[in-house]
């Protein structure tokens, strides 16, 4: 069904970014504009999600050119779900940034860049044209480069080199794959490509292109042999920016993988085995990497890698239940990964360190914050009935029923390591008595205590808001399973997507 309003989540953020750019000299106006833009984006995307969830897939043909010729925007449940989650995260992050980001970072266009980044993400989720998706990806990475380096501190710069180099390489792979795809089919529209690719006799070249897409998106979503840029760069920027990266940026790679391998390249035996092997290795290396760290933000960076394995595993198994579990995990993961970096920021404010040895006594000093932190940490670990649990149980069940025991072992191992690390953080940072020598150091003094109540509220509010959503996902799992169920059905029946675009 044709509906021009599906581009609104993109347009709203673009307009907000431009208005912020126009009020460059007044940070306060930018703050107000940013909150308005984010709220409007969130309301529109939730409304659209409801529309698509109950009705048919919506499309928008750019400039009125019918499907294979113009640029198409397609809003199915999957893309709108991700748009909604992105808008929720970005609202929380913007509010948090009022209390957390220093004034000189805000003065140099923090809000402008954040809105361009969210615009790029929403565009990448909504587009139905492969080259257009490349352009959105480039918008996302150039915005993330600026956010990564904003402030210009030494560790940030050093992390940025690795981040920039690997992301540019990923784009090159992506573009090469698009070039070959155009060469063999003569089309760029994803629905049209799906039909034309299925008719190609020479499967060799199709499979090579599929692998090039897998490498390109694999770098972006940080799967096993291609993840090294992530743990060496995500801990360097301030917590607000790390939250945007950790929650959203790798997930756009995951989204693209799901889209590509459900629509364009049907999963064959080889691809399934490859994905499952990569998922196993991603989970194992991510878990072991996280285990070896005592800096909590580095630990979380490795856990991002580790949990990417769950998505790849769900995609690799490609059964209805596995896809459903992976989508459910995606819902949970975007919210919780954003939240955990925001929470780490508050912990840093309290104890001026990310190092587990130097942290401690948070439970004694801040008992109420500790309750929030406990729920966040153990939601991530997937303690029942918190939100991480439901999808994991389905993934385990699918691994057993498909008799993929190596995968089952990796899933269990990753889960247990996550649980162990969360317990470790809880014991070391919250329960342990902090060594006294750190309390006496001038640069380890508690800065959180000195904050005024409104500053404390602006830091705690977004964390509590995201936690509420996490709890809702956990306790109201039925609704989210229904949404995941619909998405899994759509992913397994790409003809629905093709019919909606091509009519």
């Amino acid at each position: 069904m044709n509906n021009v309003y599906i581009v609104l989540p993109v347009i709203i953020h673009m307009i907000t970014a431009i208005l912020c750019l126009l009020s460059w000299y007044s940070v306060n106006i930018q703050k107000v504009l940013s909150v308005i833009g984010n709220t409007a984006g969130l309301i529109v995307s939730i409304f659209l999600l409801k529309e698509v969830y109950t009705g048919p897939i919506l499309t928008m043909q750019g400039g009125g050119w019918a499907a294979p010729f113009g640029i198409t925007f397609v809003a199915d449940t999957f893309s709108l779900l991700l748009v909604s989650l992105t808008c929720i995260s970005s609202l929380a992050i913007t509010l948090y940034s009022f209390g957390a980001v220093t004034r000189h970072r805000m003065k140099y266009g923090f809000f402008v860049i954040v809105h361009f980044l969210i615009m790029g993400l929403n565009g990448a989720f909504l587009t139905g044209d492969i080259f257009n998706m490349y352009v959105w990806f480039e918008i996302v990475i150039i915005a993330s480069f600026v956010l990564m380096t904003l402030g210009g501190e030494k560790p940030q710069m050093e992390g940025a080199i690795k981040y920039v180099a690997l992301n540019m390489l990923a784009s090159t792979f992506f573009l090469t794959a698009i070039g070959i795809l155009y060469g063999i089919t003569g089309s760029l529209n994803m629905a049209d490509l799906a039909q034309k690719l299925a008719a190609i006799e020479n499967r060799g070249i199709v499979n090579i292109t599929a692998l090039m897409f897998f490498v390109g998106f694999g770098i972006k979503s940080a799967v096993f042999p291609l993840y090294f840029w992530l743990p060496s760069s995500y801990h360097t920027p301030p917590s607000t920016i790390a939250a945007i990266f950790g929650g959203l940026l790798t997930k756009v790679g995951v989204y693209a993988l799901f889209r590509m391998f459900s629509l364009l390249f049907p999963m064959d035996n080889f691809m399934q085995n490859l994905m499952i092997i990569i998922a196993i290795l991603t989970m194992l290396t991510g878990a072991i990497g996280a285990w070896s760290k005592i800096n909590i933000r580095r630990m979380f960076s490795y856990l991002i890698v580790c949990h990417i394995g769950y998505f790849i595993a769900g995609l690799g198994m490609f059964t209805h239940a596995a896809l459903m579990a992976a989508i459910f995990y995606l819902i949970h993961d975007i919210i919780i990964k954003t939240n955990i970096f925001l929470m780490a920021g508050i912990m840093y404010k309290m104890k001026r360190s990310f190092n587990l040895e130097e942290l401690g006594s948070i439970h004694k000093n801040y008992p109420y914050f500790s309750i929030i932190a406990f729920l966040i940490l153990f939601s991530l670990a997937g303690l029942p009935p918190l939100s991480g649990f439901w999808s994991k149980i389905y993934l385990f069940g699918e691994a057993i029923s498909l008799e993929r025991y190596a995968l089952l072992f990796a899933l269990l191992f990753a889960s247990f390591v996550t649980l162990f690390l969360m317990a470790k953080i809880w014991a070391q940072a919250f329960w342990k008595q902090r060594p006294e020598k750190f309390d006496l150091l001038e640069d380890r003094k508690d800065k959180y205590k000195e904050l005024k109540w409104n500053k404390k509220l602006i830091l705690l509010g977004p964390v509590a808001f995201l936690l509420m959503i996490s709890l809702w996902i956990g306790f109201g799992a039925d609704l989210f399973f229904q949404i995941s169920d619909k998405i899994a059905t759509e992913l397994q029946n790409p003809e629905l997507y093709i019919k909606a675009v091509l009519k």
Binding site: E158, I161, V164, L175, G179, Y182, I294
Partner: protein, 117 residues
């Protein structure tokens, strides 16, 4: 003509990869730029390189009867060039900043803060 372009693309990719395996940051960047140019040429090649054959259907026909120069890849390259120009200029400034801060061009010297794990 096409065979020369194919060889050229291969050279671009190979030299780009070779430079990316070096430890110097400048070479890494030049490698990335070369690979990007190789990609642009690859897309160019996909659009059938023929002289003087615009994509216009003749008066008496309703479909293309012979090979024609496809305009879509050319517009794609144009977009890709503009995007990569932006990315590359950002990366060059970043390299300059990093060189000012660390005083080194060696990728191995980028881990100064990695002492604490």
């Amino acid at each position: 003509m096409e065979i020369y372009l194919i060889i050229l693309i291969g050279l671009f990719y190979a030299s780009g990869l070779f430079l990316m395996f070096q430890r110097s940051m400048v070479r890494l960047l030049i490698g990335l730029i070369l690979m990007g140019n190789g990609t642009n040429l690859l897309i160019f090649l996909m659009g059938d390189i023929v002289k003087g054959k615009p994509p216009i259907i003749g008066k008496d026909f309703s479909i293309f009867t012979e090979i024609y120069a496809d305009p879509v890849p050319q517009s794609l390259i144009l977009t890709a060039i503009v995007i990569s120009f932006g990315l590359q200029s950002f990366a060059i400034i970043l390299l300059k900043k990093v060189y000012q801060i660390t005083g080194s061009d060696d990728l191995d010297n980028l881990n100064t803060h990695d002492d604490e794990i």
